[in-house]
C-alpha cells in the first residue's frame, strides 16, 4: 500500500502549507464545506473509521452523539497527549504532516458544529507544539482557518494547549479536566463528554491519527477507506515499532498486516539476530503475546483474537535476553508513578504491585507473592473510574500467565535468572 498519512514526511519541506496545498491539501475541507454536517457524519460512519487512540470506537458514532439542538457552544478536542509507552506515531504526524491534522480538525468542527478546536499536546512535545503553532498561523494567513473559511460563512479557530507531564491526561475525561486548568483526573460517566464535556459543553475528543484520517475519507471516499483493510478495520494505520528490532520506527500499513510482517519485514527483524521472546502489540496497556501469535493480523479484531489488543499500535519487541519479571516491574514503575490517585484500588494497588514485583525481581520474593500479584491485580481491574486500572494490571497478569516458570525461578534461586548486559544490574 502507498502510504497516505506519511507519504511526504521525509521530504525536507513536506510539512509546509505550500507543499500540502500542492499535493491536494485542504480539498477535503473545501468539499466538506459544500456538504451538510449530517452528510459528513454519514460518510465517516460509512468509512468504518475507528478511533486510533486505543479504544477503537467508531468515530462517526462519536460525532453523532453530540446533540445538534444544544444552545451551548460545542468543542472539538484533539488528543495529542500520546503518552502510552511504546507509542510515537502522532509525534511524527504532527511534526511532519501538521496540515493533515489541522484539516481533520476543521472538518470535525464543521461536522459537529464547533467553532473552536483545542489540540491538547503533551508538554514534552514543545518542539512539535512550535511547529503546529507556526503552521496554524500560515493556515490562517492562507484563509484555511479563522473567519468565513472559503467564503462559506464557517468560522473556526484551532489552539494548541500544552500538558505538563501526566499519562492520565490522555484519558479523555481527564484531558478535559487538564484543559480546564486542573489535575488530570477522570470524571464519572455518564454524562459522557459528547453531552457534558469541556466547560460543561458538548465535546468531541479524537486522537491525532483519527482526525488526520478524516480528510482522506472526504477526498477519496468512504468506500476507498473501508476497502483498505479487513472488514470493520478499514483505513491506513500507523504502527510504532520499538525495542529489540533492527529498525525501530513508525510504519504505515493497512490492518491486513501481520505482527510478523511488521517485526521481520518493516522493522528488519530482531536486533543482532537474536530470538524473539515476547511482544506487546498495542502499547504497554495491552497484554503480552508470545511469538506463536506472530501471524496474527495487527487489526483491532485480529489482536483481540490473539489474546491482546491493537490499542495505540505501539509494538514493543523483546528478545530472549529480556527478563519478563523485570519488564513487568519496569511497567508497574510507570503505572505507579502515573496513577492519578483518584480511585483507591489503582492508587494503592499499583504501588503494591510494583513493590511485590521489585522484591521478586531482586530474588527476595516468596512463592506466595506470585499469587498475591494475581490477587491484587484482580482487585484493581474493572474497579476504577477509567481504564487505567485495567491497563496497569495487563502487564502483570499476562506475564504471570505466560511466564509463570520465570517468576518461580526468581523465587527459587533468589536472584534474577535472566540478567542482561543492557540493564543496570545490582
Amino acid at each position: 500500500m502507498e502510504p497516505v498519512l506519511t507519504s511526504h514526511v521525509r521530504e525536507p519541506n513536506g510539512y509546509t502549507l505550500e507543499a500540502y496545498v500542492a499535493r491536494g491539501g485542504y480539498e477535503g475541507l473545501r468539499k466538506a464545506l459544500g456538504l451538510t454536517p449530517a452528510r459528513i457524519i454519514d460518510m465517516v460512519k460509512a468509512s468504518g473509521l475507528r478511533g486510533r487512540g486505543g479504544a477503537g470506537f467508531p468515530t462517526g458514532m462519536k460525532w453523532q452523539f453530540v446533540p445538534k439542538d444544544s444552545p451551548k457552544p460545542k468543542y472539538l478536542c484533539c488528543n495529542a497527549d500520546e503518552s502510552e509507552p511504546g507509542t510515537f506515531k502522532d509525534h511524527v504526524l504532527m511534526e511532519r504532516n501538521p496540515h493533515l491534522l489541522l484539516e481533520g480538525c476543521l472538518i470535525g468542527c464543521y461536522a459537529v458544529g464547533a467553532k473552536v478546536a483545542y489540540i491538547y499536546i503533551r508538554g514534552e512535545f514543545a518542539h512539535v507544539q512550535r511547529v503546529l503553532e507556526a503552521e496554524i498561523e500560515s493556515a490562517r494567513a492562507g484563509g484555511y482557518l479563522g473567519r468565513n473559511i472559503f467564503g462559506s460563512g464557517f468560522d473556526c479557530e484551532i489552539y494548541v494547549h500544552p500538558g505538563a507531564g501526566a499519562y492520565e491526561a490522555g484519558e479523555e475525561s481527564a484531558l478535559l479536566e487538564s484543559l480546564e486548568g486542573k489535575r488530570a483526573q477522570p470524571r464519572l460517566r455518564p454524562p459522557f463528554p459528547a453531552v457534558v464535556g469541556l466547560y460543561g459543553c458538548p465535546t468531541v475528543i479524537n486522537n491525532v491519527e483519527t482526525l488526520a484520517s478524516v480528510p482522506l475519507i472526504l477526498t477519496r471516499g468512504p468506500e476507498w477507506f473501508a476497502g483498505l483493510g479487513p472488514e470493520k478495520n478499514g483505513g491506513p494505520k500507523l504502527y510504532c515499532i520499538s525495542g529489540h528490532v533492527e529498525k525501530p520506527g513508525v510504519y504505515e500499513a493497512p490492518m491486513t498486516v501481520t505482527l510478523r510482517e511488521l517485526i521481520y519485514g518493516y522493522a528488519g527483524g530482531i536486533r543482532g539476530g537474536r530470538r524473539l521472546k515476547a511482544i506487546i502489540p498495542g502499547g504497554s496497556s495491552t497484554p503480552v503475546v508470545l511469538p506463536d501469535q506472530l501471524d496474527a493480523q495487527a487489526s483491532f479484531d485480529g489482536l483481540v483474537k490473539a489474546g491482546s489488543m491493537l490499542g495505540s499500535a505501539g509494538v514493543i519487541v523483546m528478545d530472549e535476553t529480556t527478563c519478563m519479571v523485570w519488564a513487568a516491574e519496569n511497567l508497574l514503575h510507570f503505572y505507579r508513578h502515573e496513577s492519578c490517585g483518584k480511585c483507591t484500588p489503582c492508587r494503592e494497588g499499583t504501588d503494591w504491585l510494583y513493590k511485590i514485583l521489585r522484591r521478586i525481581e531482586r530474588g527476595e520474593g516468596s512463592m506466595r507473592d506470585v499469587d498475591l500479584l494475581n490477587d491484587v491485580a484482580a482487585n484493581i481491574g474493572g474497579k476504577t473510574l477509567c481504564p487505567f486500572g485495567d491497563a496497569a494490571v495487563a502487564p502483570v497478569l499476562s506475564t504471570i500467565q505466560l511466564f509463570r516458570a520465570e517468576y518461580e525461578a526468581h523465587v527459587r534461586e533468589g536472584r534474577c535468572t535472566c540478567p542482561a548486559d543492557w540493564r543496570a544490574m545490582g
Binding site: R10, E11, P12, G14, P73, E82, S83, E84, P85, G86, T87, F88, H91, V92, E95, R96, R122, G123, E124, F125, A126, H127, H161, P162, G163, A164, G165, A166, Y167, S178, L179, E180, G181, K182, R183, A184, Y199, C240, I241, S242, G243, H244, P248, G249, V250, I280, S284, I316, M318, T322, N330, L331, H333, F334, H337, E338, C340, W422, R423, A424
Partner: protein, 200 residues
Amino acid sequence: MSFHPEMHYESGQHVSQRELRPEGELFAFTPANRERLERVAAHYPPEHRRSAVIPALYIVQEQQGHITASAIRHVAEVIGCTPAEVDDVVTYYAMFFRQPVGQYVIQVCRTLSCALRGAERVTQEISKTLGVKVGETDPTGTFTLMEMECLGACDRAPVVMVNNEYWQECQSPEDAAQLLDRLKARGPAALTGCHLKVER
C-alpha cells in the same frame, strides 16, 4: 502539629506527605511575560481563564527556574483562582520543578522501550559521573539528574530530554559522560534534537 488532635504524626498512624513550597523571592511576571500570558489566556472563554494555569506555570519556570510559593500566589492572582488550585496543578504534573534545579536538567526516559535499549545504564553512568542520585543536583549547580516516564520517542531509544525542551536521541551509555561535557561546552546546541530524519 497535626491536622487532627487525635492523630499524632509520631504514633505512626498518619504521616502527611504534604511538602510546602519554598517561599522564594517575591515573584511577579515581567511585563513581557505577562503580555505573553494574556495572549495565551485569550484562547479560552474569559470565564474559563483557569485553563491558562499550565501555560502560566511554564512562564514562571522560564522566568525563575522553578516554582515557589510566591510565584503560586502571583499566578493565582493573575488567573483569578485560589493559590491552592494552582498548587494542585504544580504538585500533579511531572514537568514542574518544585525545588531549585541545575542549569541543565537531564531527563532520562526510563520506560520499557528505552530501558530495553540501555536507558538504565545511561542513568547509571550519568549518576556515577556527577556523583549524584536521581533527583539531585551536582555541587556546581550545573546538572540535575531526573528520570522521566515514556517521552513518546521510543524509536530513538534511549532518549534524553534536557530542560523540558531539548532532546538527545539514541544516547549510548558509553557516551553518557561525554554528553555532559558537550553540554557544558556548547549548551543545547550540542544535542541531536528529536526530529524525523529528512531526506536531503
